[in-house]
């Protein structure tokens, strides 16, 4: 079964690249570069692209860290007090529904060009999944577990620290995996408007390479952005397996 799954993925990937190649050869390099052309740019331009990847990774990871801190704290405070929960909720929803593309230019006005914009857009994009997953998670403890700690005289704070925060972790991890992908998207959107190419960023590279008809360079940046999101997701899955799977005997 596992072997069949690997085979399926491999065939689909190879097939996809072959299709891309075929279409690229017909369309011509101005519309779609071949995988070989993209690979060549990834190699020849590796110094600049690596720097851009590092910059975007910084924005995405920093934004994710910020969003995780804010989301977990906001959800925890909301659990402790219904008043706080009701006060935080409309803002959390607002952050979720306002398109990040619309906020980014305003952030440039406030924060200037450079890292802070990408950090902020990544954090805004990643906040809601972490916040809402943590709320779900804090309610995930079993009724018997809750009865147990209450019977033992636990205070609200102890109930949170001894039981609910731990029981929330599987949900928080699933929120984090969604948030990680969104943080990369958020960082790149931030770089579209908030990066002038110095230092290089993936967002800026995609934008200016496509404007100057160097699509192979834009594609190289897109490949790296995808790899970044994938790597983040894999790291989180690994951490989740190491931590949580052991508890539930998986």
């Amino acid at each position: 079964m596992k072997r069949a799954a690997w085979l399926g993925t491999a065939v689909s990937l190879v097939g996809g690249v072959a299709l891309w190649w075929g279409v690229a050869l017909r369309a011509g390099p101005l519309l779609l570069p071949t995988p070989a052309a993209v690979a060549a740019v990834l190699w020849s331009d590796r110094a600049r692209l690596t720097a851009a990847l590092a910059e975007t990774a910084f924005g995405a990871l920093g934004g994710l860290a910020l969003a995780t801190t804010l989301g977990v704290v906001a959800a925890g405070v909301g659990w402790a007090s219904r008043g706080w929960a009701a006060a935080v909720r409309p803002w959390a929803v607002l952050v979720q529904v306002v398109p990040i593309v619309a906020i980014a230019p305003i952030l440039v006005v406030w924060l200037g060009y450079g890292r802070p914009v990408a950090l902020a857009t990544a954090a805004i994009a990643a906040f809601y999944p972490v916040y809402s997953a943590t709320i779900t998670g804090l309610g995930a403890a079993g009724q018997d577990q809750v009865d147990l700690v209450r019977l033992l005289g636990a205070s609200r704070a102890q109930e949170l620290l001894v039981l609910r925060a731990w029981a929330a972790l599987p949900a928080v991890f699933s929120g984090l995996r969604t948030a990680a992908g969104l943080a990369v998207i958020g960082a790149i959107v931030g770089e579209f408007v908030g990066s002038n190419g110095s230092p290089p960023t993936l967002g800026h590279t995609v934008l200016y390479a496509s404007r100057s008809a160097r699509l192979e360079q834009a594609f190289a940046a897109i490949v790296l952005a995808g790899a970044l999101a994938l790597a983040l997701g894999l790291c989180l899955s690994w951490a989740e397996r190491r931590l949580i799977a052991r508890w539930y005997g998986a």
Binding site: D144, Q145, L148, R150, W247
Partner: protein, 228 residues
């Protein structure tokens, strides 16, 4: 311990309506009834983890402990840390805690498994860990919610023996909820047969036979209980 005029209707379902009940201190009272009649809810009311609409529980012994049908161990804590939970929450001294936890683990035969996670134990071992957790703080009130129901025969006999031993040693007021007539006959000083909801006592059998009871005694008690 006394329950007076207890009424509890979650979501409008009358589980307890104006119920009076008395439980003798230091004795084992079995509450025997079919599933869904409200006996588990009654146990949680006695534990004080369900707020009554009206009525009250008076003279509840100190340090209540609860054994659930499911072991209800916290999966992220080692067996030792699980057993330690009541002492940790009560703010006891680390040295006292360590000694009490070691003793409790030894008494249920889990000393060698102290550092394992619950997921690494068998079902029977988990149940014994949950009993150790209940006994570690030397409870004055021991509430057992069908703790033997999901166990194989050997583990079940083991658990029954451990509960009897703990009761003999601690002299704690014990309430056992069960749908198994045999468990009631083996353990209890008094058997309350209940029906519902709303929960009501339909029969009240005191049992004078000393424990441990051999199978002939249990068989006789069983026949008497079933007949009623």
């Amino acid at each position: 311990m006394r329950l007076e005029g207890a009424t509890w209707r979650p979501d409008g379902v009358p589980v307890l309506v104006d119920l009076d009940l008395e439980v003798a201190p230091g004795r084992i009272t079995a509450i025997l009834g079919r599933s869904g009649c409200g006996k588990s809810s009654l146990l949680r009311v006695l534990a004080g983890v369900r707020a009554l609409e009206s009525g009250r529980v008076s003279a509840r012994p100190a340090r209540p402990a609860f054994v659930f049908q499911d072991p209800t161990l916290l999966p992220w804590r080692s067996v030792r840390a699980n057993v330690d939970l009541p002492l940790e929450l009560s703010g006891a001294e680390p040295d006292t805690r360590r000694q009490a936890v070691d003793a409790a683990l030894a008494s249920v035969g889990l000393a060698a498994f102290a550092d394992r996670l619950p997921a690494e134990l068998s079902g029977g071992q988990r149940m014994r860990a949950s009993l150790a957790r209940a006994l570690v703080a030397r409870p004055g009130l021991l509430l057992l919610d069908e703790p033997f129901a999901a166990l194989d025969l050997v583990t079940r006999a083991d658990m029954l023996r451990l509960v009897l031993h703990a009761h003999a040693e601690l002299g704690c007021t014990t309430v056992l909820v069960t749908h198994d007539v045999g468990d009631a006959a083996r353990l209890a000083d008094r058997v309350l047969v209940v029906d519902g909801p709303p929960l009501r006592v339909v029969a009240d059998h005191p049992i004078a036979a000393p424990r441990p009871r051999d199978s002939a005694t249990v068989g006789g008690l069983l026949a008497a209980l079933v007949e009623s």
